[in-house]
Symmetry: C2
Amino acid sequence: MPHLLIVGGSDAGIAAGLAARQHDPDWDATIVLADRYPNFSICGLPFYLSGETRDWRALAHRGTSELTAAGLDLAVDTIAIDLDPHVHRVTVAHDGQCREIGYDQLVIATGAKPVRPALPGIDLEGVHTLHTMADAFAVHERLPEVARVAIVGAGYIGCELADAFTRRDLDVTVIEALPDVLTTVDRDLGSRVRQELTDHGVRVLAGSAVTEIRSRDHLLHVCTDGAADVAADLVIIAVGVAPNSAIGRRGGLATGVRGALVVDRRMATGVPDVWAAGDCVETWLPLLQRPGYLPLGTTAHKQGRVAGPNAVGGAREFAGSLGTQVVQVFDLAIACTGLRHDEAEQAGYRPKTADIIVDDHKAYYPNATPITLRVTGDRDTGRLLGAQILGHRTAQVAKRIDIYATAIHSKLAVDAVNDLDLSYTPPYSSPWDPVQVAAQRWLEAAG
Amino acid sequence: MPHLLIVGGSDAGIAAGLAARQHDPDWDATIVLADRYPNFSICGLPFYLSGETRDWRALAHRGTSELTAAGLDLAVDTIAIDLDPHVHRVTVAHDGQCREIGYDQLVIATGAKPVRPALPGIDLEGVHTLHTMADAFAVHERLPEVARVAIVGAGYIGCELADAFTRRDLDVTVIEALPDVLTTVDRDLGSRVRQELTDHGVRVLAGSAVTEIRSRDHLLHVCTDGAADVAADLVIIAVGVAPNSAIGRRGGLATGVRGALVVDRRMATGVPDVWAAGDCVETWLPLLQRPGYLPLGTTAHKQGRVAGPNAVGGAREFAGSLGTQVVQVFDLAIACTGLRHDEAEQAGYRPKTADIIVDDHKAYYPNATPITLRVTGDRDTGRLLGAQILGHRTAQVAKRIDIYATAIHSKLAVDAVNDLDLSYTPPYSSPWDPVQVAAQRWLEAAG
C-alpha cells in the first residue's frame, strides 16, 4: 500500500489524515506527533484554565480510538528532526532513539510555536507560554499557589486568559505594548474590550512594553517602560505565534511571510510529493490577492482537508482566508472578517466605512441588547470588503459576522446584503437584520 | 410637488414611503391606512398577548412623529374603497365620509387578511383572528376571563400563540387539520416542535379538521372530525392569510397566485403609475423561477424599499424570496430557507438531502446543545437548494440559517459551504461550524 506520512497531529495534520483516508482508503496514513495529545483543541486551553472545562480529556476533538478506527496510525511523542525529500524520508526521534520513516507522499503540519521575546528573565520559573497541552498542564498545576497573574500581550488569547483567570478569582494584569487591546479590530472597538476587562476587575496596562522580568522575594516582577512594575506569581507570555517551519526548511522548502512555508492553493510546497498545511504555512488572502501569515484553527482544518486528499491523488483547492475571527471576553463577543478600513486602504482599495449601533432583536421582546456593526466597502465597485461586530455574548455576533463572511466570499456588493432573505422573528432579529441596517447606513454615508 | 400616494401603513407601505422620500425628497408622500397604527410590528402580537411585551406602544417600529419627520403624511382610519388609475385617483372613506385623493404615482400595500374558513359558528363571540392591533386589543381585553384557549391552525403563528398563552398560564389546545404542526419544515422536524408544545403542557390535536364551533353553557365548543370536542373560552383562528388585493382589483390590476396582485421585479403592476408591494402581491421565487404567494414581513420591507424609489424615478429590482423563516416555540428555534426535498423534486431538480445532529459549540464549553441540520442540494449541479435547522433558542439557529440563505442567494454549491471562512471560538461554534459539518455530510451521503 502507498504510504502517506503526516508530521503534526493537531488541526491541520489530523484533518489531512482523515480527509486523505476518506478520499482514498487504499493509502496507509501515519501521523507523527511531538506529544501524546493528537487532535486536541488548543483553542480550548483558556477554558480548561478557567475551570469551565473541568476534564482536560474533553478538549480532544476526537479520541485516539476514533482516529485509529479511521485508519490513522499515530506515532506519539515523536519529533521530526530531519527531512530528505530526495529519498522520501523523514528522520524522527522517539524516546532518545532516532529512526527513519519513508513516505510516498508527505504532509507537513507542524503548526506554530509561541513567540518568546528575547527579554531578560523570560526563562525564569513561573514564566509560561500557552500553546500545548504540556503548557496547559504546567500552568494548571501551578494555579493553586497563584494569587496574581500578569499576562503579556492582549491579543485574543491574552484577553481570553484574562477572562479565564478572573473566573478563578485571581488578580489579573494584562500588559500590552500597543496602545489598546485586541488590535485585530479598530481601536475604538478595542477600547470597548478594554472597558469590559476593567469592568471585571482586570488591570490593563496598554502602551507599555515589557523590558525585563525579575524574580525577587518569591515573586516575579514584570518591568515595563510605561508603568510601574507588576508583581505576579505567574506570568503568561501571549504575544503571538510564529510558524514552526524548521523541518520544512531542513528539507529545502521555500519560506515566505514571517518564515512560513510557501504553498500554492493546492497546498503543494513545490518540492515533489511534499505538501503542507496549517499554522506552519502561508495562507492565501483573496481580498489582498497575495499570501500572508494568519494562523487560525479554522484555516488549519480547511487547509488540511485540501492537502490530505491532494497528497493521495485529489484535486482540491484552498479558497483562502478572510481572517474571520470571534472572541468572547466576559459578556462581550467581538468579531471581524475581511479588511478593516486601514487595511483596505493599504491594499489599494478606495474604502468607505460606516458604523451603526442597533438592537440585536426587536426591543419590545425581552433582553434586546445594542450591537455595534461596522462595514467597510469599496467606493469604486461597491464591493463589501470587511466588517466588525461587537455585542453581548447572547447577540448572535458570531453567526452575524459569518453572514458578512459568506457575502464577502461570494463577492457581493454592500448593497446586495440588503437583498439577502434573512430570517426574522422578534426574539432573534428585526425585519431588517442588523447586518442589513449597517449595509444601509454604509450606502447612505457620504462619499 | 409631485405626489406619491401609498395605500397601506404597515411594513411594505412605510418602507416604500421612507425609501421614496430618501430617494427623492422632492416628492410629497401620503400614506393612507385603515387603522391608527402605522408601522406596527404585526409579528410582535404574540409577545404582547404573552405579556412579554407589556406596552403595546412598543410594537411600533417607529413612532408617528418619526414618520412625520421623515416627510410622510399619514391619513389614519382611512379605508381605500376605489381606485381609478385612468384619472389617477383613489376614493377613500374616513369617519363616514368619502373623498378622492389624486396621485402622480401610487403604491398599493394593502397587506393580507386572515383566512376565515366558512365554518358554522365562525362568527360567534369569542372567536377571533389575529392580524391587526384591533384584533390584538380585542383578544387582550378578553384574556382576564379566559381559562381555556383553542387555537385552530398550527403554522408558525399558531405555535407562537400556543407558547404565548401557556406563558399566561392558560390551558391551550392546538387543532391542526394536517398530520403535524409547522408544515413549513419536514414532518419529522414538525413532530419535534409538537413534542416541545406537549412538553410544555399544550394539547395538540393534529390531523383533526374543525367542522363547527358551537356556543353552549357560556363556553365555545370546537368540533372536529378526528377528536373529541374542545371546550374553550376563546378560539383563535390562525389558518393563514390571503392577499388583500380588493382595491387593486377594483383598479383593474391583474391577479395571480391565490389572488395576489401581479407585479414584476420592479414591483410595477403593469398599470401605468401603479406599483404594489408586500402581502398583497405575488413574490418572485428565484429557486423556482416563478412567482408564488409567500407573505412575510421581511419580504414586505424589501419590496417596499424597491417599490417606493421606483415610483419616484428609481430603478431598483427585488431580488426575490427564498422563504427564509425562523420561529421560536418555547425553548426551540426552528428555521428554514430555500426548498425542502419534496419541493425541490416538484420543481424539477434532482435533490439529495442529508441530516446531521451536532453540538452548536464545542462540548467542552458549558451549555452546548445538539442542533439538527438538514441540507438539500441538487445532485446534478451540486448547488445548495435549501436547509432546515432545529435547535435550542440559544444555539444561533436564526443566524445559522442566514448563512445558508446567503449561500443560496449567491448560488453556491453545497461543497462551497466548506470553503466559507466562518468564525470560531469554543463558546459559539466548532472549527467546522455545524452548517459546514452538514454540508460535509451531504457530500458523503450516497447518491
